[in-house]
C-alpha cells in the first residue's frame, strides 16, 4: 500500500509549444509540474534564430535596414530607428528636424500597433475574445498609414541613416467600389485629405476607442482574477533581471528613455510616464493602456508640427543619402555618388557606438563596432524581450499552468527579437 502512495505524487514534466497558439510564436517551454503548480519553467528558444547579427556583418550598412523590421516584427520602425541612430552616431551626423518628427510620429504609431496587438492577443490568451476584434479594427487604420507612406503594411524599411526615405504623401489611398464595400462615402470620409489629416482624424477618435477597450477589461471580474497578483516582480528584482520598458514601469520605476535620455524629437513632446504599483500582470496591463493614450497625444503633437513645418527629410550628404533622381540624371557627380552608394555603400568611421530607443517592449539597443569598412564589423542587437523571457522561470514558479499563459502574455513576447 505504501509504495502506491509514493507513486501517486510524482512530478510531471510537460512540454509547452513550440507549436502552441498561446506561445506567441515559437516558444518551447519545458515545465516541471507538481500537480498543476509549476515548479520550474525552462524556456527553449532559438527556433526562429536567423543570425541577423552575423548576416549584417556581410551586408553594407544600408542593406541591413530591412532586416531590422524582421526582428521584432510587431514594432518595425522602432528597430530601424535604433539602428539608424547607431550608424548616425558613428558617422557624426544628425538627421533634419522634420525627419526627427516623422520618426517620432512613426515610432508612436508603431507603439500603438504593438500595444494593440499585445492587448488583443493577451486578452485572447486569457479568454477574452471581443477585445481582439476591437484591437485589430484600429490596427487596420494604422497599417493603412504605413502602406500609404512606406508602401508596406508592416515591414516598412522607411528609416535611413540620415533621415527617412521620403516625405509624407499628400493623399490617402481610398476604398474603391468592389463587392463587400457598400457605403463608399462613409468608408472614405476621413480619407479625403493628406495622410496627416487621416492620422489627425485617428488621434481624435482613438481616446474614445481606448475607453471602449477599458470597459471590456479594466473592471472585468474574470480579467482581474486572471491577472491581479500574477507574475509579481518586485522593483529590486526587476532591475536585477534587466527589465526595461513597461515591465520595469509596471514594477514602479518611472523609467522611460524618451524622458530620461531623450532622442530624436522627444524632448519637444509633452507626455506622461505611467507607472505601476504592484508589479503584477494587471499593473502592466494598466501601464500599457495608459501608454497608448500618451502615444496618441504624442502623435497629435507631431501631426500639428509636421503640418506647419515643411522641409527636407534626409540629409544632403550624398556619401550617405542618395541624390534625387533628377539631379542624378543631369549631373555626372550625382550619378557616381548614386552608383557608389548602392554598390560599395557608405564607409563608417572606425569606432563603436551603442544607441537605444524606448521600444514598445523595453529598451531596444544596437551596438555597432566598425573598423572603417563598408560593413559593420560586429552588430549586437539588444532585444528587450530576451531578458524578460529569461525571467520566465522566476515569474512562473509557484503559479498554475493557466497563469503561465497570462505571464507569457504580459511579457509581450515576440520571437523575432528574442531569437534575432
Amino acid at each position: 500500500m505504501e509504495t502506491a502512495a509514493v507513486a501517486e505524487i510524482r512530478n510531471y514534466t510537460m512540454n509547452f509549444g513550440p507549436q502552441h497558439p498561446a506561445a506567441h510564436g515559437v516558444l518551447r517551454l519545458v515545465l516541471e509540474l507538481d500537480g498543476e503548480v509549476v515548479e520550474r519553467a525552462d524556456p527553449h528558444i532559438g527556433l526562429l534564430h536567423r543570425a541577423t547579427e552575423k548576416l549584417a556583418e556581410h551586408k553594407t550598412f544600408l542593406q541591413s535596414v530591412p532586416y531590422m523590421d524582421r526582428l521584432d516584427y510587431m514594432s518595425m520602425t522602432m528597430n530601424e530607428h535604433a539602428y539608424c541612430m547607431a550608424v548616425e552616431k558613428l558617422l557624426g551626423i544628425e538627421p533634419p528636424i522634420r525627419a526627427k518628427y516623422i520618426r517620432v510620429m512613426f515610432d508612436e504609431i508603431t507603439r500603438l500597433l504593438n500595444h494593440l496587438l499585445w492587448l488583443g492577443t493577451h486578452g485572447l490568451d486569457v479568454g477574452a475574445m471581443t477585445i481582439f476584434l476591437y484591437c485589430f479594427r484600429e490596427r487596420e487604420d494604422l497599417m493603412d498609414v504605413y502602406e500609404a507612406v512606406t508602401g508596406a503594411r508592416m515591414h516598412a524599411a522607411y528609416y535611413r541613416p540620415g533621415g527617412v526615405y521620403r516625405d509624407l504623401p499628400d493623399c490617402m489611398p481610398q476604398f474603391k467600389a468592389e463587392a463587400g464595400h457598400k457605403d463608399l462615402d462613409y468608408l472614405n470620409a476621413n480619407r479625403q485629405g493628406s495622410v496627416l489629416d487621416f492620422i489627425e482624424d485617428f488621434t481624435k477618435r482613438f481616446p474614445a476607442l481606448v475607453d471602449e477597450y477599458e470597459t471590456l477589461l479594466t473592471d472585468n471580474r474574470i480579467w482581474k482574477q486572471r491577472t491581479v497578483g500574477i507574475g509579481v516582480v518586485t522593483p529590486e528584482r526587476a532591475k536585477q533581471l534587466g527589465f526595461t520598458g513597461p515591465m520595469l514601469r509596471g514594477s514602479g520605476f518611472a523609467w522611460d528613455l524618451r524622458k530620461m535620455q531623450p532622442y530624436a524629437a522627444y524632448e519637444h513632446m509633452d507626455f506622461e510616464i505611467p507607472v505601476g504599483k504592484n508589479g503584477d500582470c494587471y499593473d502592466r496591463y494598466l501601464v500599457r493602456v495608459e501608454e497608448m493614450r500618451q502615444s496618441n497625444r504624442i502623435i497629435a503633437q507631431c501631426v500639428d508640427w509636421l503640418k506647419k513645418n515643411p522641409g527636407p527629410v534626409i540629409i544632403e550628404n550624398h556619401k550617405i543619402a542618395p541624390p534625387g533622381r533628377e539631379a542624378m540624371k543631369s549631373n555626372m557627380e550625382e550619378l557616381i555618388h548614386h552608383f557608389k552608394l548602392f554598390t560599395e555603400g557608405m564607409h563608417v568611421p572606425e569606432g563603436e557606438a551603442y544607441a537605444a530607443v524606448e521600444h514598445a517592449k523595453g529598451e531596444f539597443g544596437v551596438y555597432i563596432v566598425s573598423d572603417g569598412a563598408n560593413k559593420p564589423y560586429r552588430l549586437k542587437l539588444r532585444a528587450p524581450g530576451f531578458p524578460h523571457l529569461a525571467a520566465m522561470d522566476e515569474m512562473a514558479r509557484g503559479h498554475m499552468i493557466a497563469d503561465v499563459v497570462a505571464i507569457i502574455g504580459t511579457m509581450d513576447i515576440v520571437f523575432g527579437d528574442i531569437d534575432r
Partner: protein, 201 residues
C-alpha cells in the same frame, strides 16, 4: 542631473584606478577596458559603489576581433563587452575585457552580480565559445540541439557547415554537408583614412 560622460569617466578613474587598462570617452559614451581576471571584481564594484550604482546590466555580448581591419590588429581575439546602465543615476558605461587565451577564452561569470547575465552569457558561449567560469547552467541557447561549432566566430562560414532535410525513405530528418556555395555580392572594402571624406558631412 546625470553626470556628463567626461565627469563619469573621471569618477570611474578615481574608483577603479589601476584596474582600468584603457579607457576613453568617444561619441558621448564611456568605454573601459579591464583585465579578464579583474572582470568580476570590477563589475561588483560598479554595481555596489554608491556614486556609480550600475544596477542594470543592459547587454552582454562576445566580440571576435580576429578579422578586425583585415586581421592586422594586435592583441587578444575574444572580448566580452558589457553595457551597464544605472536606473538610479541615469548614466551608462561600456566595459570590455579581452580573454587571455584564444584557444579557451575564459572569463568569470557575473550571474551573481546581475541575474540577467545568465542568458546573455549562455548566448556568448553559444555563439563565440567564451566560457564563463562559475555560470550555473552554461548550455547552448540559440542554436539547434546538438549543434557543433560557434557560429559567430569570424572563421565560421556564413552559410554554415551542415544543412537539414527530411528524408522520405528513412522517414526522418537528416543532417548533411551544405550544398550551397558561399557567395558575397558586395565585397568588404577597407579604404585609407578620410577616403573621399566619407562619413563626415
Amino acid at each position: 542631473m546625470p553626470l556628463t560622460p567626461e565627469a563619469l569617466y573621471e569618477r570611474l578613474q578615481e574608483s577603479l584606478d589601476d584596474k582600468i587598462v584603457a579607457g576613453k570617452v568617444a561619441l558621448g559614451e564611456v568605454t573601459l577596458e579591464v583585465k579578464a581576471e579583474d572582470w568580476h571584481g570590477v563589475c561588483t564594484q560598479l554595481r555596489d559603489e554608491s556614486g556609480l550604482a550600475f544596477d542594470t546590466l543592459i547587454d552582454l555580448s562576445g566580440v571576435d576581433y580576429s578579422a578586425y581591419k583585415d586581421g592586422t590588429r594586435e592583441g587578444g581575439r575574444f572580448a566580452v563587452v558589457a553595457h551597464l546602465q544605472s536606473v538610479a543615476k541615469n548614466h551608462r558605461v561600456r566595459v570590455r575585457a579581452f580573454c587571455d587565451d584564444d584557444e579557451l577564452p575564459l572569463v568569470a561569470s557575473v550571474v551573481d552580480v546581475w541575474a540577467v547575465a545568465n542568458w546573455y552569457e549562455r548566448e556568448a558561449f553559444d555563439l563565440y565559445g567564451i566560457v564563463f567560469d562559475g555560470h550555473p547552467d552554461l548550455r547552448r541557447i540559440l542554436t539547434d540541439y546538438g549543434f557543433i561549432g560557434h557560429p559567430f566566430r569570424k572563421d565560421f562560414p556564413l552559410s554554415g557547415n551542415v544543412e537539414m532535410r527530411y528524408d522520405p525513405e528513412l522517414k526522418r530528418v537528416l543532417y548533411q554537408p551544405v550544398s550551397i556555395d558561399p557567395r558575397e555580392v558586395t565585397p568588404r572594402i577597407l579604404r585609407e583614412d578620410n577616403y573621399g571624406d566619407s562619413g563626415r558631412g
